[in-house]
Symmetry: C2
Subunit: 210 residues, 2 copies
């Protein structure tokens, strides 16, 4: 009995994952409204009705995809402790965001499209969790400024600059690869970009690089 149950649970888990994966890829290519349940089904190699068996409707499926992305991001960024050393904290932050762009570009792309379209499914999350997150980090940065550890700047501008210049390599992947005439990123390239961004930003803030 329990083995049947766990087997069923495994099928459920496996299919759910397959659908979520396929959904991510389709949502990236065509956006929320532009994606059809049929195309997700085809990509997941399941009949369309099965998608509706696992997820009530398209909006629900999209919501789950978004939640998975936000959860993955929270795990990585919550890890950024309030260390008192700006060079270390900012380096880690830039590194973490670049790795996210490298390892999960689709998550970044879906999030970006959601925001560009006015965040109809995420406004609440942004005005609560995200605003709180920016406030906390801004407080830390302001204390660094008060201690003379970095140049006086508006912390939120700095946070946006780091978000923008790291996410760019996920969201605008197509443009970057076309312009630089490459087929894909590799570890070495990502490391060089990370070093470049870190140096510009630390120097730009008058923070000595360790």
């Amino acid at each position: 009995m329990s083995s049947e149950k766990s087997k069923a649970g495994n099928i459920r888990t496996r299919n759910s994952q397959q659908i979520l994966q396929a959904a991510q890829e389709e949502f990236v290519l065509h956006g929320f409204k532009g994606t059809s349940m049929q195309s997700i089904a085809d990509r997941a190699q399941l009949p369309k009705a099965n998608i509706h068996y696992y997820f009530k409707n398209k909006a629900n499926l999209y919501r789950v995809v978004l939640e998975e992305i936000m959860t993955a991001w929270n795990h990585v960024l919550a890890d950024m402790n309030n260390d008192s050393d700006p060079a270390e904290v900012l380096s880690k932050f830039i590194h973490a965001k670049m790795q996210l762009s490298y390892t999960n570009p689709n998550g970044s792309k879906i999030f970006a499209m959601e925001i560009i379209q006015g965040a109809p499914h995420l406004k609440e999350h942004i005005s609560q969790d995200m605003r709180q997150w920016v406030r906390e980090k801004s407080d830390v940065m302001n204390s660094w400024i008060a201690q003379g550890k970095m140049r006086k700047v508006e912390p939120s501008y700095l946070i946006f600059m780091i978000w923008a210049s790291t996410q760019h390599y996920a969201d605008f992947e197509t443009q970057v690869l076309e312009v630089t005439n490459r087929r894909e990123y590799d570890d070495e390239e990502i490391n060089k970009i990370t070093t470049f961004l870190t140096e510009i930003i630390l120097k730009g803030l008058d923070i000595p690089i360790k």
Copy 2:
């Protein structure tokens, strides 16, 4: 006779502009596939059939919207002369891109979504015009480096950083305004951001600010 002709021409121009404006706004909200001709017609306050009278089909209308955006950008960015002073050229570049984000956020957003989705309608433009543009600017920057006018960095990374951190204020407008608890940008805010970005980047490159 000629007055009839010019009047007809005026109606044509006026309606075309109305449709293009409406189309831009709808494409921003729902993407290419997600936008319906009916919703564009409603926004332009014209019957749907009129949209098809002015534009052969949805793909054609979208293409014209994209071309308008690319033309506006080219005008502004071509203006950037190959001045030999890095501080001045880079400041002007950052300023011009921030003003574009401020004055035409919808253009930036539609372009961003197009790239995120893999640039199905723009790949040719990117791999030709844009690659060429980056090459030219990279050559100028490399000459600055050779002359000791700035720190040695990979020019394309620098260009991407400026694109990313300026466009962010157009594309992620919703997120920025929600997080900073504002209703809209104003001239003062845009100027402060421009100054911030310019200072970080020039300092980050060891370029003395004039």
